[in-house]
Symmetry: C2
């Protein structure tokens, strides 16, 4: 039976991925030198397509890492001497905070309950170097309104702002010029094999990293921002990277551009509405995020008394949904709503519940 993965990532592969892998093998993408012109062309094509798809300003740099977790580490290493400030309302925002602690920084956090939002008027992170947002909490399905992020940046313009868009990209329509850096991995909304992270950063980030480096802070080695920039300026990476992943990302971006992000965003919103409406009207199962204004469109968490039973039943029909995150495993299911998830499959899945 053909399965459809509605898991929050790794998830259903984007439909053409298998074909693109085949093409990559034919074109010997996995054998070419990562210092040669053919690789440089792939690097160039992928960053160009990604910039076009996400409307990344020309002045922002695109770096390839190996995961979003690595991106969190590199962002803290390169942008923080001592203090970062974290809006924490789930496992991944907490992880960003923990990574800062592990790297010997003194991070501060403003905590909200899991699944709840923040009162952005209550606290103002003015005495910090970096403000960290997890725009779409994959562990809970709570999202942060982009306007709230832009406002915080506007009111704290001396501070850098980093935004984790792991599970909202490419749906999220971010104005990158209003923040300083953002990052994601490709096994969620891009429906690709895992093992590639992307970091988008402006010159203020590069300057801060250089400043810290000159002050003898440990900003890492091959993946410090200076090293990443030196390589990316040549359409290269400091190390031998996941060449296949970089190639595939370009192809998937081109496909998404072809379909049109406006259309994809509308479809995403329609599917999200269907799912939330269904569970808002269900007698037993209920969306975990009560406040409709902060409900994620791409990762939808549902409270239910018997998640294992639902997961098992759906899987018998080929629909794989995610379990709740860690402690929420016994209480919730998570349903991803990414560009490769079709409306008719969402309908079929909901009918089974």
């Amino acid at each position: 039976m053909q399965k459809i993965f509605f898991t929050p990532g790794p998830t259903q592969l984007y439909p053409n991925v298998a074909k693109y892998i085949e093409e990559a093998l034919k074109e010997e993408v996995c054998s070419i030198s990562h210092r040669g012109s053919k690789f440089q062309q792939i690097f160039h094509n992928t960053t160009k397509s990604l910039r076009k798809l996400l409307r990344i300003p020309e002045s922002y740099h695109v770096f390839f890492l190996s995961s979003a977790t690595e991106a969190m580490e590199r962002v803290i290493e390169n942008l923080v001497a001592e203090n970062s400030y974290h809006f924490v309302n789930g496992a991944f925002s907490e992880r960003f905070f923990t990574i800062a602690q592990e790297l010997g920084k003194v991070p501060e956090k403003y905590e909200a309950e899991w699944g709840k939002g923040f009162d952005f008027n209550e606290k103002n992170p003015d005495h910090t170097e970096l403000i960290c947002f997890t725009q779409n909490e994959t562990s809970t399905g709570a999202a942060i309104d982009l306007e709230d992020i832009y406002n915080i940046k506007k009111n704290n313009n001396d501070n850098l702002v980093a935004v984790d868009i792991v599970s909202s990209v490419p749906y999220v329509e971010m104005d990158y010029s209003k923040i300083d850096c953002a990052f994601f991995s490709v096994q969620k909304g891009f429906g690709m094999p895992a093992g590639l992270g992307v970091l988008i950063a402006n010159d203020k980030c590069i300057e801060k990293s250089k400043f810290l480096q000159n002050k003898k802070y440990d900003v890492g080695s091959y993946h410090n921002f200076h090293s990443l920039l030196k390589s990316s300026d040549k359409n290269q990476t400091p190390e031998t990277p996941n060449v296949l992943g970089i190639y595939l990302l370009g192809k998937v971006c081109d496909d998404l551009i072809g379909q049109g992000m406006e259309k994809i965003r509308k479809e995403t919103e329609k599917k999200a509405q269907m799912i939330y409406d269904f569970f808002d009207n269900h007698t037993i199962y209920r969306p975990f995020v009560g406040n409709k204004a902060i409900r994620s469109k791409t990762v939808i968490t549902i409270n239910c008394p018997n998640p294992a039973d639902i997961i098992k039943k759906l899987s018998e029909y080929g629909f794989i949904v995610g379990s709740g995150y860690k402690e929420l495993k016994e209480k919730q299911i998570r349903v991803a709503n990414f560009p490769m998830h079709k409306e008719e499959d969402v309908e079929k899945m909901l009918k089974l519940i």
Copy 2:
């Protein structure tokens, strides 16, 4: 025309890689959760096969990273408070040294000319924490005799010893119990797509990392040894890893076990002999590494007045050989001799020169 990549890595894919990728896609390896039992089984299978193939002692840990460059960084971060000692005779041993500098350590180096060996009686790295070897210098084709490494370890038993086996594995028959850690990436001797690094480390490395962590040294976050161990004990990785790469590595290991490493090692030596004999007897082209005792069996560098011409001519017949490393680009070619390179193709290639 079917090409054959004799480049030192990325290189010719192992023959069955395309088939294994197809199987992985059928088995939905790229969509499964990295926290689920199916992934744990893949992790377990791959580490089991790798242990069997390389005869890694049970007490040694196997960690997955994203590249050998990352491995260098993690090894320095986790094993060095201040002093590391590096045997440097090429670009990659130099890079290991530079990474230690970049991380704020005070590394020492014993330099030999590129392509030359070391006099291991001359210097004794006794006042250090970590002794670093690049067993097979991919930039020059000079190798270090394993007995020399074991002896240094025996004479400096309080120091940890790290060995870069990037371009000699799986050919190199290392007794892992005689060193403390070793690392490699998979796009060379394993003939796989790039984007996966492997680190093999014993409990002394774990203890040193914990000691440094307790003393508030920066040992990194998600990929510090404690975090890697906590995950690998559950057949997991701290982050979402290159799942496809981990899967493929297991399959390639099983294939190599099936063929028998003894046979592969003999073939490798025979092919290396053919190549060296050919160039030792050539009127113009000459092996760069003069001292036969330290000539690499897996990366063979040849001095030639017109490398671009040879590379071009061979490529017209489908044989892709590597250029010299960086400054040596105008003076040398590099020929890889890995398990997937067939004797008959080596013969054909040599006939063309």
